[in-house]
Amino acid sequence: MKILVCISNVPDTTSKINFTEGDTKFDTNGVQFVINPNDEFGLTRAMWFKEKQGATVHVATVGGAQTEPTIRKALAIGADEAIRVNAEPKDGFYVAQQLAEVVKNGGYELVIAGRESIDYNGGMVPGILATLLDMNFVNMCIGLEIDGTTATAIREIDGGKEKLSTSLPLVIGGQKGLVEESDLKIPNMRGIMMARKKALNVVEPIDASQPTQDQKFDKPAAKGPVKLVDAGNVGELVELLHNEAKVI
């Protein structure tokens, strides 16, 4: 089985978010970039398929040269090869078209992407990718087993989960649950050394449409101070929630 794990390069979850150039650009100054957390779960699941079922695992990202440390980290975790499509990820539709080309050329049977990138929270790349390629698609995937060309997946639904049965070729939008937090792999020295020798192929983008344009950013209004209620007077909280906040 040939697996492609799609990786987006996102600000670390603890990053302070600022904007620049008249609030038209995200300010990357001082921001640490990491593998998108949802993709980290997917990558770890892919490593399981590699170890237990002999799968080959490639990773792909659409991004400039500045994303290479993130891809190298994926190689250090154990992916066999990496592909970087040399283009700024303009919007989800644009990225999906680039990745579709990578999947076609590489003949992947399983594409593991994340439920959403934690930067723009688009949640659309895997679904658009699957549809462009006419591959099956499971979103918010929290469990995946492959047996031959049959796939059994669990997806999260509001208030529970659903078990699904489908077949390869398949694209998933994955998240925590695909593997547990404690299964996540941290690259070790040997992995990091080996990653240096692995192929990181840079390919040029294809012409693709970009139906959305981000124009301007702003930040939520600053919050007033918290109103503290004495622990001995819990009734006052009920009062406030009813009369002032009007939420009960």
Partner: protein
């Protein structure tokens, strides 16, 4: 031309968000000088959508569509878009809708803006405000494709009445086997519980509650308030609560009217996912807990004393206001 809205139902009954997205669609249709057509699946009382400004309902009644199937539903919506010559499609932010939205976008070659929190900034050009960076910022996005898809955040626009009379028509899409290539085998949904996505109020517990055996009071508080229960990430990682309750940047987003956090420190990744809630209450025994900076109301105290007391006071309040 019309504005098309997908109105979700469960076992024939509309979900609350169906009325919210219908209200939003009405606003967009007004701005564009057109009307709203809704697509509903096996809805029992389709005409009820008229209250929220829907003038036409395409009701699809197929047994094969009685359980949600993302690709098939997206296919039906795409056919409805064509039939109605719709230029704008309004969707909600539930798990099911977020599953079908990108499929629909790809089928229609449409730009899709998710997590939209307000009526469009303008309709020509078509610009919407949506959350980004897990609620740490907003971005104003122009959708420039011919057909535009807007995903409205839960509870962001609200339910607004604009009564018109709605005509209800049967809609007969043509479906293929390919639409059902992903099959539902089993749905495991906790019955009779409010879900985090639907809830007006969410009661959430963190590691400060010490162990799963102490969740009784969290559930009781949720019961009294008609709320959904949620938890912080370590709580689900430890297996104290199911994954589906994990909220935050890497869990479910919460955008309720009221969010009550008990024994949760308020780490940046937690706050990122819950800060869209309108009113936040924190109960924590550490006055330095970061959550107090992000909260509207707070009680510094031991959850094991405060929560039972709060349950009592709420019961009294309920009894008086019943």
């Amino acid at each position: 031309m019309s504005v098309l809205v997908y109105t979700e139902s469960l076992k024939g009954k509309f979900k609350k968000n169906a009325f919210e997205v219908a209200s939003y669609a009405h606003k967009v249709a007004q701005d564009l000088g057109t009307t709203v057509t809704a697509v509903a699946f096996n809805a029992e009382d389709a005409a009820a959508l008229g209250t929220y400004g829907v003038s036409k309902v395409l009701n699809v009644s197929y047994d094969a569509l009685s359980t949600f199937s993302a690709k098939a539903y997206a296919d039906v919506l795409a056919q409805a878009v064509k039939a109605e010559d719709a230029k704008v499609v309004i969707l909600s932010s539930t798990a099911d809708t977020k599953y079908l939205a990108p499929i629909l976008a790809a089928k229609l070659g449409a730009g899709y803006a998710p997590n939209v929190v307000a009526a469009p900034d303008s309709t020509s050009p078509f610009v919407v405000k949506r959350t980004a960076f897990s609620n740490k910022g907003f971005v104003h996005t122009e959708i420039s494709s011919d057909i535009k898809i807007v995903g409205v955040s839960n509870n962001a626009y609200g339910v607004v009445e604009n009564a018109v009379s709605a005509s209800v028509e049967d809609f007969n899409p043509s479906l293929t086997d390919g639409d059902f290539a992903v099959k539902s085998v089993e749905v495991d949904r906790v019955a009779g519980k409010v879900t985090i996505a639907d809830a007006d109020i969410v009661v959430s517990g963190g590691r400060g509650l010490k162990g799963p055996e102490h969740w009784g009071m969290v559930e009781e508080l949720a019961d009294v308030l008609g709320a959904a229960t949620a938890c912080s990430k370590p709580v689900s990682d430890l297996g104290w609560r199911p994954h589906s309750e994990h909220v935050g940047q890497t869990g479910k987003p919460v955008a309720s009217n009221l969010y009550i956090a008990i024994g949760i420190s308020g780490a940046i990744q937690h706050l990122a996912g819950v800060s869209a809630s309108k009113v936040k209450v924190v109960i924590n025994n550490d006055p330095e807990a970061p959550f107090f900076k992000a909260a509207d109301y707070g009680i510094v105290g031991d959850a094991f004393e405060v929560v039972p007391e709060l349950i009592e006071k709420l019961k009294e309040f309920k009894a008086q206001n019943a």
